[in-house]
């Protein structure tokens, strides 16, 4: 399959799509976690996002996609000095991946055949300035999770092993997806995701039919389908670019800050990451919608995504955290 399913052709799932667009506008929001049933288009959306993202400029052949020549890590032998345009990296982190593959390790090939001590960069290096996508993130092994947390926190990957001592930047947006029935995610990792969305299969028959129809059209005559949606995708990409440009100038009134803080206090979320993410997401949404300042309606819209995974778990709460967030949002913002 050469080209992924177009992002704008995904039917429904507005919350998921919005969350992904927001992280594309402001990567500091810090990633999206998509939890939901099988066959609801989680993987499709992530792969579609990759094709939608604007390309980045990077040094040709640099293993960590450095923007400028002087940023290239000293251990890398970058032959070229040209700056090229390449698609935003979206790196898949498969389950059962080894630590070596994630952080990088001694290049066994070169060590054994040429007797050289060289570093073979791992997935974290490739994901720098891009996206790291973990399907079934809740099944990932704990020690890999610890490692990811550490790197996501510091933005730098430090390798101290097998006689190597190497560091390189690793700033990426984490995108995880999974099915909650198969296992929970540790709270520490949950907190690290900026936004979390829950997706379900659409209940509406017409919507379901439309999903199936589009998918079938894509599979039977991909080229025609892609041509049809190309315009929409380009429009969306331009909107993302415009929102990125508008973001610095966006006004954040005092009232918005107060709203965010009040919401987080009322929900009893731990730490201040909730406020920060909520505000950033609201700003990104305002920029996306072309507003001049952050308003209450922006905060209201992103509140469930930004906060629902930061609540303390209540084993007896059957309604789920979404309902709790919505209730509190109603109470606080009126």
């Amino acid at each position: 399959m050469t080209h992924p399913f177009p992002f704008s052709a995904i039917v429904g799932q507005d919350e998921m799509k919005t969350a992904m667009i927001l992280t594309a506008i402001d990567p500091r929001i810090g990633g999206v976690l998509v939890f939901g049933d099988r066959g609801t288009g989680k993987s499709t959306a992530v792969r579609a996002l990759a094709a939608l993202l604007p390309p980045i400029r990077a040094v040709e052949g640099c293993p960590v996609n450095s923007e400028r020549l002087e940023d290239c890590p000293p251990w890398a032998t970058v032959g070229s000095t040209r700056i090229v345009t390449k698609p935003t990296p979206v790196v898949d982190l498969p389950l059962g991946v080894t630590e070596d593959r994630v952080v990088g390790a001694l290049d066994i090939e070169r060590a054994l055949t040429r007797g050289e001590k060289a570093f073979e960069p791992g997935l974290l290096a490739r994901a720098n300035r891009g996206y790291l996508y973990i399907d079934e993130v809740n099944l990932l092994e704990d020690h890999i999770v610890d490692l990811l947390l550490d790197v996501a926190q510091s933005g730098e990957n430090v390798v101290e092993r097998e006689g190597l001592s190497i560091r390189h930047p690793a700033r990426f947006v984490l995108v995880g997806s999974g099915n909650p029935e198969e296992g929970e995610l540790r709270p520490q990792l949950l907190d690290r995701f900026g936004l979390s969305v829950e997706v379900g299969s659409p209940k509406d028959i017409a919507e379901r039919v439309e999903v199936v129809r589009r998918r079938d059209a894509y599979e039977t005559d991909g080229a025609r389908f892609l041509r049809r949606w190309k315009g929409e995708d380009t429009k969306l990409r331009n909107r993302i670019l415009a929102a990125r440009a508008a973001l610095p100038a966006l006004a954040t009134p005092e009232a918005a800050l107060t709203d965010c803080a009040e919401l987080c206090v009322a929900l009893g979320s731990d730490g201040l990451r909730g406020e920060l993410t909520l505000l950033r997401a609201a700003r990104a949404l305002a920029a996306f919608e072309g507003a001049e300042r952050v308003e209450r309606r922006h905060i209201r819209r992103v509140a469930p995504s930004a906060l629902r995974h930061r609540l303390r778990r209540d084993p007896l709460d059957e309604a789920g955290s979404t309902a709790r967030v919505l209730r509190i949002v109603e109470e606080v913002l009126g």
């Binding site: 066959g39 029935e181 379901r208």
Partner: protein, 554 residues
């Protein structure tokens, strides 16, 4: 003997797979090893793809290819092997129910990539909760259950002669505009959440039409619904989600008819009837009970073994670097060192160290999951009077044993309005004894609060790689609800709800009734917890300890 209906479907599924192996994803064959299964597996050779066998423990280098170390060393230049996923093939995965989630995820990715693969999962799951990983099950069009078919009912499948021609016709098959909508609607009414199901059904219908050399018609749709949708159904067709518990023999024409009215060509009801006919009798009974037939529940093969603490290094061992293990460089060099003189003589031209595959040593870590016993002790007034002393004694005895086995112990006491974690998971015997001796008694019985605390401790411990077990010592008369109100009914409900949560989280438990008379509420609680229930009316500390040891398996 006439042919078994399930076998007819199996043969049809095979024929369709031969027409469109990649688009249909594959086949999930649930059967114990038997001549019938062998017959079907032998017929797989009719697929237009080379057959390749996987096994549940297949390594990444085998799947994706990688460095061929032995050949590389011998040749002195880099040589790579081709992975199993490198070329389009029909992958046969025996013992599919044992496939770890990691493998399932990678195979699912390979199927999603549409690189021409087709996956045949041979699931030999014996128990209900052993089944193929749901991520894979969702992507395979067909599910066939061969249990209960006699060999005489399963005639040798004849390879479809039309298959190659049908493959050519596949792209030209025209589907009626409403076909997709019909299938989607029927899937929805059968309670199939995943949207892959109607898509796969449509592909199956297209293959069926191509096989018969015609445009897609009602017969094709019916066959597809039978093959693809029926095994995935979770609700009885005619009643929708709020199915009444009685098995309704009512004809499907009496359905509510939502959305079906405007479908004159092939009413949904006919498709539904086809699906119903294809449902195995057992499934219908289960559906009638209101339980969904779930492909692989929460546990079974889908369950992860939680990561352990890294463990202490164990002696390195011979092994190939296959991507899952790390080479112990020092040990490898040490193994290679004594041979250098000899090898240099044998291969005089080569520079540098001569390492052969036999020298490779891989790092090993000893991983052992420590057990944590969470004692949840009722220190309420009613229990305190009679039993607290014995309970303390028993816990102390168990502690001594735990100490010998290097188990961890945590102690939670509940009394008054809440529970208190007296001792977070520890191995310190002295500390535990001190806290235990100081444990005061008296007050009401907030059983729910105690269970909640146990759940929190157990989940925390599990995240640190321990295997928790809860031991509940109480006389069972819960009278304080979770929110601190003195309300017997609410208290009992809360306790049951938490017991359910504890069981759902998979923590094994043991309930010891310390009351003077066995308490029925506690037996119920133990049932909900799926835990052994030990009424110990005249227990002394030693008997209690022996009982716990036995129940915990030593």
């Amino acid at each position: 003997m006439s042919e078994h209906p399930a076998w007819v479907r199996a043969r049809l599924a095979l024929s369709l797979l031969a027409v469109d192996p990649c688009g249909l994803g594959g086949l999930w064959l649930r059967a114990r090893p038997s001549p019938v299964r062998d017959r079907l597996v032998a017929a797989l050779s009719a697929l237009p793809l080379p057959l390749r066998r996987l096994h549940p423990a297949v390594a990444d280098t085998q799947l994706y290819g990688g460095l061929d170390l032995a050949a590389t060393l011998a040749a002195g230049r880099v040589l790579r092997t081709d992975g199993l996923l490198g070329t389009a093939s029909a992958l046969v995965l025996p013992m599919a129910e044992r496939a770890p989630p990691g493998l399932a995820a990678r195979l699912a990715q390979a199927l999603d990539a549409r690189a021409g693969h087709c996956l045949i999962c041979l699931d030999e799951g014996a128990a209900e909760d052993e089944a193929l990983a749901p991520a894979l099950a969702d992507r395979l069009a067909f599910r066939i259950d061969l249990d209960g078919i006699a060999l005489a009912e399963a005639p040798e499948p004849v390879p479809e002669r039309e298959a190659a021609a049908a493959r050519g016709r596949l792209a030209a098959v025209r589907a009626p505009a409403e076909a997709l909508a019909d299938l989607a609607r029927v899937a929805h009414r059968l309670g199939i959440g995943s949207l892959r199901a109607p898509l796969l059904a449509l592909r199956a219908a297209r293959g069926h039409a191509a096989l018969h050399g015609r445009d897609m018609g009602p017969d094709d749709l019916r066959a597809a619904a039978e093959l693809v949708l029926a095994p995935r159904a979770t609700v009885l067709p005619e009643t929708g989600a709020e199915a009444p518990p009685e098995p309704p023999p009512a004809p499907p024409e009496q359905g509510e008819g939502e959305g079906a009215a405007e479908a004159p060509r092939l009413p949904d009801e006919i498709l539904l009837a086809a699906v119903k006919a294809a449902l195995p009798p057992g499934a219908l009974a289960r559906l009638a009970e209101g339980r969904a037939v779930r492909a692989g529940g929460g546990s079974g093969s889908g369950a992860t073994r939680k990561g352990n603490r890294r463990g202490r290094p164990a002696p390195p061992r011979e092994g190939r670097p296959d991507g899952t293990q790390r080479i112990d460089l020092v040990a490898t060099l040490r193994a290679a060192a004594p041979w250098q003189a000899l090898r240099r003589e044998a291969a005089p031209g080569r520079e540098g160290l001569q390492v052969r595959p036999a020298d490779f040593r891989t790092k090993r870590y000893e991983e052992r999951s420590d057990r944590l016993i969470v004692f949840v002790v009722d220190a309420s007034g009613s229990a305190a009077l009679a039993r607290l002393g014995e309970a303390k004694g028993a816990v102390e005895l168990l502690l001594a044993e735990a100490y010998a086995r290097r188990d961890h112990v945590a102690l939670i006491a509940f009394r008054g309005t809440g529970a208190e974690l007296l001792l977070p998971p520890t191995r310190s015997l002295v500390q535990t004894k001190r806290r235990l001796a100081a444990l005061p008694g008296g007050g009401a019985t907030p059983l729910a609060a105690g269970l909640k605390a146990a759940l929190e401790v157990a989940e925390g411990a599990r995240r640190r790689g321990m295997t928790p077990t809860a031991v509940l010592l109480t006389d069972g008369r819960a009278n304080i609800a979770l929110d601190g109100r003195a309300d017997r009914t609410a208290a009992a409900e809360d306790a049951i709800a938490l017991a359910r949560a504890l069981r759902a989280s998979g923590v094994p438990a043991l309930v010891i009734d310390m009351g003077l008379r066995p308490e029925r509420a506690l037996a119920t609680l133990a049932q909900v917890l799926d835990a052994p229930y030990l009424p110990l009316p005249r227990a002394d500390a030693r008997r209690l300890s022996a009982a716990v040891s036995t129940a915990l398996g030593g």
